[in-house]
Each structure stands twice: as C-alpha cells, then as structure tokens.
C-alpha cells in the first residue's frame, strides 16, 4: 500500500512536470501578451510528431530530440509572425476563436502529413530499464529522466526569469507591457522570443512523452484543458503558480484515480464505491479548480496589480 502510494506519487509528479512544461509557455504568453492561445496544446502535439519523425529518420532518440526542439522553436516563431502577432490587440473572444481555427488546421494538417493512425517512438535502449527504489519497488528510468529534465527546465526557467536581463524585461512586461515599450524595449522582439520559448517548452513536453504515450492527432487537446486548469489554479501569468499547480494537479489526478476508489470502499459498499470512484476520479481536478477559484477567484499566486 505504501509502495503503491509512492509509485503513484512519482507518476503524479512526472505527470505534473509535463503539465508544467506546457503550462509555463501558456502562462508566460498570457501573462506578458495578454493572449489566450488555445493552440498551445497543438504545439505539444507538433513536438511529439517532430520527435517521432526525426527519431525515425536518424535512428536515435537524442538526435531526434535535438532536431525537434529548434524546429518547434522556429515553428512557433513562424506562427507568431503569421497569426498571433495580429491578435495581441484583439479581445479575448477573438483570440479564442482564431486559435480555435488554428487547432482545426494543425490537427488536420498532422493527419494529412502523418496519417490518422498513432505513431510510436521506442524508448532509447540506454534509458529503457528500471531502477530499484525502496524494497521491491522499481521505477522506469525513462520516467525518472522526464522528472529530472523537467525539474532542470524549471530551474533554468527560474534563472532566466529571476536572474537575467531578459527575465527582468519579461517580468516588467507581464506587469505593464506599454510601460516597458515606452522605455525603449523592442516589445515585438520580446513577444516573439517568449512565444518561441513557449512553443519550444510545449514541444519539449511532447517530445518527452512520445516514447511513453502514443503520438496521435488531437493529443494536444486533452492536455490543453489540463494546462488551463493548471494556470487558472496557479494564477494566470505566474510561473511559480504554474509549477505549484501543475504538481498539485498531476498528483491529485494520478493519486486520486488509484486511491479514490480505495478510500470510498471504506465508506460505502463496493459496487457503489466502484461506480462513484469511476465517476469522481476524472472530475477531481475540476472540482479542485472550482474549490480554489471559489476561495481565491484569481488563483493561488495572482499577478500583482491584477484584479
């Protein structure tokens, strides 16, 4: 039981870190440019497809990853120049609609290029085994790598945002973009950079799950909604909030699915507990979100100056 809990907690952490990688870009883009990007999830999908393709071509996952990341960055920047740059001064509804259209295009485009059937990416040999944790418990190396890579990325992002000049501009931009622009900063270039960075982070998340999930059209849509839950719980625009909320959502979702039914069984008869558990488990994080928003309408770490 303790082992199972530990295992699920690790799975939850790994899931949460993936969510963070996607949510970080989304919340940066929202916080700084005030842009709701529904198409952020498809960037995650594109990252997974690029990794699958480059891995198949080069025969090596790491080479594939190394090629996929800059491609995702360039792809994000091209999209920003073509479409998103037109949307900054529009209201949220128009942003929602335009990026909704973009989802349709990219999902369909992926289907046309790669077909509707899921692709699979083999776990690289060197990362395939599992390592012993405590007692009889073992954990797959690849999932540990995801956790480590995600934590390193979070650390890198924190250094970038909190300790560098670009980060200072980002923080200033998130608080008051017009003021930063008035001070002579090239806000257009800053926006492009943030967008490219966000696209690359989402692409990186997609690349990391490619070997453990199936790569298929529409895979970005489900994670997008979870990411929204994350940034709304964390407080829109806050990287720290996104990190805390992503881990929270990942753990609550994963642990809840396993232990919800077990807890319920001690409260009610087995058949009813099974049905209630099945019903409640996928709703847990949405309930969490509703509770958080009920108590704190602008999330756990609201942006300063925001209402």
């Amino acid at each position: 039981m303790t082992n199972l809990l530990l295992l699920q907690a690790l799975n939850g952490l790994q899931f949460g870190i993936l969510l963070f990688l996607v949510a970080a870009g989304l919340t940066l883009i929202f916080g700084i440019m005030d842009l709701i990007n529904l198409a952020h999830g498809v960037l995650y999908m594109v990252g997974a497809y690029l990794t699958a393709t480059f891995t198949a071509v080069t025969g090596d996952f790491f080479l594939g990853l190394a090629l996929a990341l800059p491609t995702a960055l360039v792809f994000g920047i091209v999209l920003e120049r073509l479409i998103f740059s037109q949307l900054y001064d529009r209201d949220h509804l128009e942003q929602v609609l335009a990026t909704f259209g973009l989802i349709l295009i990219l999902n369909e485009g992926v289907k046309m290029i790669w077909g509707a059937a899921p692709l699979s990416v083999p776990v690289p040999d060197i990362l395939s085994g599992s390592v012993p944790l405590v007692g009889p418990l073992r954990y797959p190396v690849f999932r540990i790598i995801i956790i480590v890579a995600g934590l390193l990325t979070a650390l890198g992002l924190w250094v970038l945002v909190a300790r560098t000049r670009v980060g200072m501009l980002l923080r200033a931009g998130a608080t008051n973009a017009p003021m930063v622009s008035a001070l002579g900063v090239d806000v257009k270039r800053l926006f492009m950079l943030v967008f490219g960075l966000g696209a690359m982070l989402a692409g990186f998340a997609g690349a990391m799950v490619a070997p453990i999930l199936s790569v298929e059209p529409g895979m970005g849509d489900s994670i997008l909604i979870l990411t929204f839950v994350v940034i709304v719980i964390g407080g829109v625009g806050s990287i720290r909030g996104a990190f805390v909320a992503a881990i929270l959502v990942g753990v609550v979702d994963t642990v809840g699915r396993t232990f919800g039914p077990i807890v319920l069984r001690s409260l009610m008869e087995p058949a009813a507990a099974a049905q209630t558990g099945r019903t409640l488990a996928p709703m847990l994080i949405y309930i969490l979100m509703a509770v958080v928003l009920f108590a704190r309408p602008s999330g756990l770490f609201p942006k300063k100056g925001a209402a």
């Binding site: 005030d34 037109q86 609609l97 259209g101 295009i105 289907k111 709304v232 709703m283 949405y286 009920f294």
Partner: protein, 338 residues
C-alpha cells in the same frame, strides 16, 4: 478587461448600430428572422419536390443548433459572458432523453421538463461559482465545468460510457408518434426555435434585458446607478442553460443516439463560432450563424476529407478581417452603419 472589450461600442458595429438606431435595427433584424423562418417552413415540401428528402434531416440539425446558438447568444452577446462550456447543456438535454426513455418515460414533454430542470440547476450551481470570476478566468472555469459534465457522462457506464447509447425509438409527443417522421420532428424543432426567438426577444427588450446589456457595456456604471450585475447575469445564464437543454432533447431525437461527444469542449467552441459568425448580440445573427456554420460544414465536408483545414483557415480569416459577423456584414451592405 475582456468583459468590456468584448462589446466596446466603438469596436462592435452591431452594438453601435443598435445604439444609434435601435428601432430600425431591431425591425430589420425581425424582418430578416421572419424571412428565415418562412424559408425554414417551406423547406420540407421544397425538399420533397426536389427529390432530396435528406435535406430535411440536415435542416433539422441546423434548426436545433440554431436554438443552442440563440441560447448562447443571450449570455455571450447580451451579457458579454464568454461561456466555453455551453455544450454541456446540450449533453444534459440529450441524456435526459436517454435516461428517461430507459426508465419508460418516453414523452418528449416530460423529458423536456426534466431537461430544463436539470440544465437550469446545473447552470445555477456552476454559474454562481463561475460568475465570481471575470474575463479569462470566466472562460476557463466554464470550460472546466463543461469538462466536468463531459467526464461525468463518460464515466456513466450504465449508459454506454464513452460509446454512448442508441435510443430504441424517438420520443412520443403527448402520446402521439409525431416525432417518428423526419418532417414531424423538423416542424417540432422549428416551432421551438420560433418560440425561443420570440421569448428571448421579449427577455432582451425587457427591463431585465436592458440591465443585462447595460452591464455588458459598462458594468461599473451599472453598479454606480445601483444595479448589482450578479443576479441578472446568473438569471441569464440559467435561462440560456435551460433553453440549450431543450436543444439537447431535440438533438437526441434527431440522431436517436446520445453520447458524451455532444459536450466536448470543441462543441462549445463551435457554438461560440456560430454566434460570433452570425454576429453577437443579435438574435437573428445567432440563427444565421448556425445556418452559415452548418451549411459550410456540410458543403466542405462533402468536397474534401480534410475539410477542417479550409474551415479553420476561414474561421481565422473571419476573425481577423470581419467585424460583427454575418449580421454586421448584412447591416453594412444595407447601410445600417454609416
């Protein structure tokens, strides 16, 4: 900030035209709606004459979605509340039919009453929480509630879970089998649409509707003159949810199949596109938007397997280069806007 930006009169020609020439604009919209209804009414005989009875099935779908779009327009167009979980009500209505039918209650009137009650309750609970938030948070929390409803029905294994449930037959209408024929169902849906249109027209023109629109245009000013927006917005949210529940009842009867796919967030997105495409804040526009959206979907999907591609591109172009949707366009052509 989006709350006021959505319907800034300086940006939104529909609102601007409405403010400048309220009587004329509303009379023009009424005439347009009546013409639309007349075309709808004449469609089944025309389809028979043209030897294309399937047209009625397509048209039924259009009429049902027009009801859903109308209901969304009340909150989106008149209340500036960007609700991204509206399809949940469609699903609640549809499941009311499936669940009641399996319990032996097969009359559409009873089913609609239950659908309205459950939809209204769901809207009341989720609306009360959602309306504590504003702008982007409102968009996302309604999205989350929509997903909650989606996952609730996905997990309902007694009713097919993910796969949904096929209905044995269509509902009866006050004991008659009027809905069994496609034409009977079509006219029933059309009657509901026309009734919904005139109901919402009355609601929007009433004192309640004026407060709602006032809040949309300037919430601070409305508060300053003594109106608390919350009860008005919540009431509109509940009315819209209940009406969309009825659309769900009709949709279940049309497809004779009910599944959680009715309430995916993409479906909610499509409803928003319909309303915006037609022109927010005009009831006729919402109907026109549903017609335009579904007609386009039908044409494109019959032409190309990958029709989502041009469809998505078209949505982007519409957002970037038109303002006020079909209603705005028609208004501009007929000179309602200087």
């Amino acid at each position: 900030m989006s709350q006021s930006a959505v319907s800034d009169p300086a940006v939104d020609p529909a609102v601007a035209a409405d403010a400048r020439q309220p009587r004329l604009a509303s009379r023009g919209a009424l005439v347009a709606a009546l013409i639309l209804f007349a075309i709808f009414a004449a469609l089944p005989p025309a389809a028979t004459a043209a030897g294309d009875p399937f047209l009625v099935v397509t048209a039924t779908r259009i009429v049902i979605y027009a009801i859903a779009a109308l209901s969304l327009d009340l909150v989106l167009g008149y209340g500036a509340m960007v609700s991204f979980g509206h399809a949940a009500f469609l699903g609640i209505g549809a499941y009311s039919v499936a669940i009641l039918a399996s319990l032996g209650i097969g009359d559409v009137v009873l089913q609609a009453v239950v659908a309205v009650a459950v939809s209204a309750l769901f809207a009341l609970l989720t609306g009360a929480i959602s309306l504590r938030t504003k702008g982007v948070y409102f968009i996302m929390i309604t999205l989350a509630f929509g997903q909650m409803a989606f996952f609730f029905f996905v997990s309902l294994s007694a009713y097919g879970g993910d796969d949904g449930v096929t209905l044995y037959s269509r509902s009866t209408l006050l004991g008659t089998s009027a809905l069994e024929s496609d034409v009977g169902l079509y006219y029933t849906a059309l009657v509901v649409l026309v009734a919904a249109f005139f109901l919402l027209r009355t609601v929007v023109a009433s004192r309640f509707g004026r407060v709602l629109r006032g809040t949309r245009d300037n919430a601070v000013r409305m508060q300053a003159i003594g109106f608390a927006p919350f009860p008005y917005q919540l009431t509109a949210y509940v009315i819209a949810g209940a009406l969309c529940g009825i659309a769900g009842v009709l949709l279940a009867n049309q497809t004779e199949f009910v599944s959680p796919a009715y309430m995916t967030w993409q479906r909610s997105g499509e409803l928003i596109v319909m309303v915006v495409l037609g022109g927010m804040g005009t009831l006729t526009g919402a109907i026109a938007g549903a017609v335009g959206y579904l007609a386009l979907e039908n044409v494109l999907s019959s032409m190309w397997e990958h029709w989502h591609l041009p469809f998505g591109a078209l949505i982007i172009l519409l957002v970037l280069y038109t303002r006020g949707g079909i209603a705005g366009l028609v208004g501009r052509i007929f000179g309602a806007r200087p």
